[in-house]
Symmetry: C2
Subunit: 446 residues, 2 copies
């Protein structure tokens, strides 16, 4: 090969406005609904070392044992390299498909290896389920608030997303039933209910046992699927585990999505979906088209980690780290957030959801917070309908305790200032304050 | 956590016909176009050790140096583990985005790192480009025959695929122009032309320089994009490299798709797409929804491999191995395939495309071949319009020479038998043979 024989490559000409218009006519209609989530856009800012990022859903990866990583790599090099570097079956490697139900069994959920499809992270599982089920305009139901990263996926398939209010026990099944009844009266049958029932992203709340039974019963009655997304179930700090929707249902109407992102490593991009055979077949066909198969190397790595006997110990360690960080965050919020704020007390997972007095727009607050090197996810990202403007998602898994406390302190101070400013304006203009006058007094609990 | 407190998980009830019907009503319209390609379905058979699989597009992974693999893993463990196990930016790691243009430069193609998006294999690049550009019913143009794995992707977005005939110089640009003119007269503007111009999958042919210039000129004139898929360009065994469509165009109307699957390892699932900024932005938004980001671990691995100084040596080695295997395959085809067969003589890449006398249906031949533990891809897989029924794609990269020869010998023997049987029936029934009587005499060239 003699590259010098090839004519020199011309540089790309600068894109002109005219070109942009040309391209615009080529884009699919779905791209008009595609918006970059603030969460992802902030990644570039949030990865700067000086920023205290409470924004991402980043697990802590600093405790992964380097010796075990090397040991696994040496094992692959010694006896599985050619296979790890090769294409694999679209469904995933058999060994990993057999090991995944053993992971699920740790939460008491039974699953059959043949119903498991390995995916490129839990995110791809959501994408493939939506691809298999949703035509443009189809209705989906989900939590209000919902996982912000699911909304771009639903938008990519032009779904009509309806959010069902959550309280401290998770999605309100009375409202779910009412919504489904109304939709049915209008001749609409939603394709699925999407929910994160355990240590919900973003709410930090957990669907109660009673509601779990109701949700499954409602799904069966209306003959629609539930997509149960369970990334955090093994990260319980206290209280008793609840049965998954999948195990209550037995897998007839519930599609289960799991991931290694929060219990092994997000950088693997390794998740899975368990679905009844007719749905699974469509998911596998969709995956063929999407990326052929998930990395064998990454699958081998996860499998050997699970087989190493050190998985439970590693998850135990994460649980300890996250429990302390949650406690630090809850303490700091109680100390530094203004009076009138409310927040969840998660029994596990990665997130606290905090709601400030209504006059505070958390989008504005974020802009100010970034100026002081703190990031969080504004609540509006978790809704399609404009709600959540005075709420925020705060992540405690990816940041050491002293930085959590400092980050929350800065956010609280900024919120105070905004409230003070609003009070001054309101007093001057004699405007009534929504929700009554803001008291400057802070709760000192902690 | 006490799993014993959780009620025992009920087993999934067997799916009944009634359930299947229930699910059927939930599927998206696109799933009606989804079909499992024979190529993928055969993976399960083709991976059995007794099968000589000329079916997959499997690279040879046996020569990857285990010492280098361990060295890279040790490097990651020592100084990059937490990052490799973490989420990364959707666009890909900066270091890898900078290294990819250096890989492209080896074929004389210039590209800017900021135009590069790292993808989960080249397949995901195709999926994301189609997601960004194609609405249901939109027209796409592609080679006839085309990469079989692209068709399920185009079907997933319900594209209307029109294939433009290829000859020994690649896609016939006169027919391309004619098709575009006819579509324009009918008020239709295709979204893009998809082509594998170099060592085409499945044809093994290469688009000539003259045709490359014409294709770019036509795309510009009709203001549509060309998606240039170039997985094999660095695997040239002989002859002079040709400039990529991307470098001829300068990146205004050509979207370039590359992959590490054939030059590093398919098991990484690591590819990339280079696109002008407006298109790139839509691709990145689509990737966020599809899988958030590509595995940092895999990206780190590839980057450290590229930086090891052993990449060119490795590709040189692959080129040597594949050249010998190609020669073995061409020799065996010349010796064993029946008179009336024709086939491509690729100057690089992974595939030979062979066409048998018209009376042979290669779908039937495949069924017989699997019975004798040989697999290939029947030609119909490379068309949407029923063509290719007497052709086949034969892979020479993934199988040692003696097995290539044996596999081709078995296929040739089966084809001979089918031709003999057809002759007998034709003689008995006094039916005219399409294409004239089949001569039993074989070419003995080799």
């Amino acid at each position: 090969m003699e590259p010098e024989q090839v004519p020199p490559a011309p540089r790309r000409p600068r894109t002109e406005a005219r070109d942009l218009e040309r391209y615009a006519a080529l884009f699919a209609a779905r791209t008009r609904q595609m918006r970059s989530s603030a969460m992802r856009n902030m990644m570039s800012i949030a990865t700067r070392p000086e920023v205290i990022s409470l924004a991402g859903g980043l697990p802590d990866t600093s405790t992964f044992p380097a010796d075990l990583f090397e040991e696994i790599a040496a094992g692959i090099a010694a006896d599985g390299l050619a296979g790890a570097l090769q294409y694999g079956p679209t469904e995933g490697l058999d060994g990993l498909r057999e090991a995944i139900p053993e992971v699920m069994a740790r939460e008491g959920t039974g699953a059959e290896p043949e119903d498991v499809t390995v995916t490129t992270g839990g995110q791809q599982a959501l994408d493939l389920v939506t691809r298999a089920l949703v035509d443009p305009g189809d209705v989906l139901l989900c939590d209000a608030p919902t996982y912000p990263g699911a909304l771009p996926t639903f938008a990519a398939y032009q779904a009509d997303v309806i959010q069902v209010e959550c309280d401290s026990e998770g999605m309100r099944t009375d409202l779910l039933e009412q919504t489904l009844t109304e939709l049915e009266a209008g001749g609409k049958r939603p394709k699925f209910i999407y929910s994160v029932p355990t240590f919900q992203n973003p709410g930090g709340i957990t669907l109660s046992l009673e509601r779990r039974r109701q949700m499954v019963e409602i799904a069966r009655r209306f003959e629609i699927l539930v997509v149960e997304d369970n990334p955090y179930g093994l990260l319980r700090f206290e209280g008793d585990p609840l049965p998954s929707l999948y195990s209550i249902d037995g897998g007839g109407f519930v599609v289960y999505v799991g991931t290694f992102s929060k219990i092994v490593a997000a950088g693997l991009r390794l998740g899975w979906v368990v679905a009844p055979p007719p749905v699974r077949q469509k998911i596998v066909l969709g995956k063929q088209a999407a990326d052929l198969c998930t990395s064998n190397l990454v699958q081998e790595f996860a499998l050997r980690f699970l087989q190493s006997g050190r998985f439970d110990e590693y998850v135990d360690g994460l649980r300890e780290v996250y429990r302390s960080r949650r406690d630090a965050m809850l303490g700091a919020i109680a100390e530094y957030f203004p009076h009138g704020a409310d927040w969840s007390r998660p029994e596990g997972g990665l997130f606290v959801w905090a709601t400030l007095p209504e006059v505070i727009d958390t989008g504005d607050l974020l802009a100010k917070a970034l100026g002081e090197n703190v990031a969080f996810v504004p609540g509006a990202e978790a809704f399609v309908d404009g709600r959540g403007t005075n709420s925020m998602r705060l992540n405690f898994s990816g940041v050491p305790e002293e930085r959590i406390i400092e980050g929350v302190r800065r956010i609280g101070r900024l919120a105070d200032r905004m409230l003070g400013l609003y009070e001054t304006i309101a007093n001057t203009a004699e405007l009534p304050l929504p929700g009554g006058p803001v008291e400057k007094e802070r709760r000192k609990a902690g």
